[in-house]
């Protein structure tokens, strides 16, 4: 039983160096793991990002800028902005309404409702497009009616908007529900007791409480709305100048071996992604407690 008198581990180690902390790995293990993690991130994430900009500028700034003077590129930009300008506010209103109903009230079947709202996240983008073709396509559920009344949804802008709404459907709701649940109803009840109307209480009490979380969700929702490819590709019909969003325009240019233009347009989307990440990181750092429920990291 003689070992039992030395309860401290590894006494061989603290000869000259400061004693090794028992809750972390040895120095060389730490550096090895850091090297593995950073190499992996660099290889899989940073390298593709750099490639986008390198390829876009491969033939100089002239060729780069020429990609944007093209009429098709411009109409793709306009369409992408239009679609996001409809889909994002729609999901904003939906998300706030859903979060209000789910977080401020207790009712049966709530968990099922939350699961159903999350559903679009687990559906393949291609299937997200397919389902609208099945509903609104010329041979779909409402096809005969739509053809008769000369309403075009699939292979037109409304279909693109619908598919985009679908893939971004859960963003705002799933961000706000836990946040508003955590905040409870006491403040709203106080406002109502003091005579505020429901709408007034929402605007002056709830909205300021959730604004950073809301901004955060809208930011991510917008990034996805502008960048969606699979779902939009299925419903768009790829009509140049009419139903081509920016990601679809990238695909067309790439398949035509017009690499500089493809990567130039792609760099626009990559720039959007970088701005999104920068604002997102800033919000997480500055307003961590106001964005998500519970204490977050950082």
């Amino acid at each position: 039983m003689s070992e039992a008198v030395a309860p401290f581990p590894d006494t061989r180690d603290d000869t000259i160096r400061p004693p090794q902390s028992v809750v972390t790995e040895r120095r060389y293990v730490r550096w090895l793991l850091i090297a593995v993690a950073l190499t992996f991130l660099a290889l899989f994430l940073v390298l593709p990002l750099i490639t986008v900009f390198a390829q876009a500028l491969a033939k100089g700034w002239g060729a780069y800028l020429a990609a944007f003077t093209e009429a098709d590129a411009r109409s793709a930009i306009v369409l992408t902005l239009t679609v996001a300008a409809i889909a994002v506010p729609f999901n904003l209103v939906f998300g706030v309404a859903a979060a209000w109903a789910i977080a401020k009230f207790e009712f049966r079947g709530k968990n099922l409702l939350v699961t159903l709202i999350d559903l679009p996240f687990s559906v393949s983008p291609v299937v997200s497009g397919l389902i609208y073709v099945l509903v609104f396509g010329s041979r779909g559920l409402f096809g005969p009616y739509l053809v008769e009344h000369d309403i075009q949804i699939i292979f037109a802008v409304p279909g693109i908007v619908l598919a985009t709404v679908f893939v971004t459907f859960p963003f705002v709701a799933r961000q706000l529900i836990p946040l508003m649940q955590e905040q409870g109803t006491a403040e709203e009840e106080a406002a109502l007791t003091l005579g505020a109307s429901g709408w007034h209480a929402f605007r002056t009490v709830t909205l300021p409480n959730i604004r950073w979380g809301l901004l955060y969700a809208v930011l991510l929702c917008n990034a996805r709305a502008m960048g969606e490819f699979g779902a939009v590709s299925v419903v768009s019909g790829h009509i140049r100048g009419l139903t081509n969003t920016l990601p679809l325009h990238v695909e067309i240019l790439y398949n035509e071996y017009n690499f500089v233009a493809a990567f130039a347009v792609a760099s626009l989307l990559a720039g959007l992604a970088l701005v999104t990440l920068a604002i997102k990181s800033f919000l997480e750092w500055r307003y961590a407690d106001d964005i998500a429920a519970g204490t977050r990291r950082h």
Binding site: L38, P48, L49, L134, V165, T185
Partner: protein, 284 residues
């Protein structure tokens, strides 16, 4: 919550907060029109083929091969993303090094970068004449236009799920437990494998499941690098697109329903394993 005593079983508890009917009604309407009706149409369309018809689609050699590629490669990619994602999450939470914040922000890149952009970037990197592809070719690995390319794209797209589900749990680990383990004489390796790792397993599995599900359904970042050779590197979502362009709505719906079904079963299995590991390791 209202302070009135809770009435007998009601649909909802009493509350002074207004707007329940309005917001719930709006929520259900949107959910019904945008999500449930279209998904129900898909299921109805596939059901129109009957079980035999769906089975015929599933066992069609080209479809079976595409499903095998999608699910098989996604499994490997999710495994890889989980292992390296675990290391990345550990390093980002536990160690301090210059550029840690930046590396942490970079992890979310696949969430923010449009999939088509990622797709063409990966394709040009790993193409036989690309900067990485040419190096890989020297050691005899063909990445682009083979399942290896699909694997790379799926790891890219799955990595943030693997990192972000594990990271908050690593941050929550009570260091006193590790200290106790060390003081009781456990080596660092023993502490890690017997004390630190077990409570993380449910989160690792969740991350794995999310990465797997995302990989199976992924389209944009894969089709450029995959080469899309039937029977070799053709993924199931692409086959749906092909069937649609041939106006084979039933076939497309059948593949979609098969994909949803297999994904659902996988997630169910993982949920069961999770529930088991929670009971086993007593983690809430």
């Amino acid at each position: 919550m209202s302070d009135a005593p809770r009435p007998k079983r009601r649909f909802r508890q009493k509350s002074v907060i207004p707007g329940f009917g309005l917001t719930l009604g709006y929520t259900l309407t949107c959910l019904g029109v945008i999500v449930l009706l279209p998904l129900a149409t898909l299921v109805a369309k596939a059901a129109g083929l009957g079980p035999a018809g769906i089975w015929a689609v599933a066992t069609d050699p080209r479809v079976a091969s595409a499903l095998r590629v999608s699910f098989g490669v996604s499994l490997l990619a999710a495994l890889t993303a989980s292992i390296f994602g675990g290391i990345v999450a550990w390093v980002l939470t536990r160690y301090d090094f210059p550029g840690r914040k930046l590396a942490d922000a970079v992890v979310d890149l696949p969430f923010a970068l449009p999939t088509a952009v990622a797709g063409i970037a990966l394709a040009s990197l790993y193409a036989p004449n690309g900067p990485v592809g040419s190096q890989l070719a020297k050691i005899g690995i063909e990445a682009a236009y083979t399942p290896v390319g699909i694997f790379i794209a799926m790891v890219f797209i799955g990595l943030p799920f693997a990192v972000r589900t594990v990271q908050p749990l690593i941050a929550e680990i009570d260091k006193e437990v590790e200290e106790a383990s060390a003081i009781l004489g456990a080596s660092r390796i023993a502490t890690l494998t017997k004390v630190v790792l077990p409570p993380l397993i449910p989160a690792v599995l969740t991350g794995f499941a999310l990465a797997f599900a995302r990989g199976v359904g992924e389209y944009g970042s894969i089709i450029f690098i995959a080469g899309n050779l039937p029977y070799v590197s053709e993924i199931a979502p692409l086959l749906i697109v092909i069937k649609l362009s041939e106006f084979d709505y039933e076939g497309a719906s059948a593949i979609a329903v098969i994909m949803l079904g297999i994904s659902f079963l996988t997630l169910l299995a993982i949920n069961l394993v999770q529930a088991w590991s929670r009971r086993r390791f007593g983690y809430v």
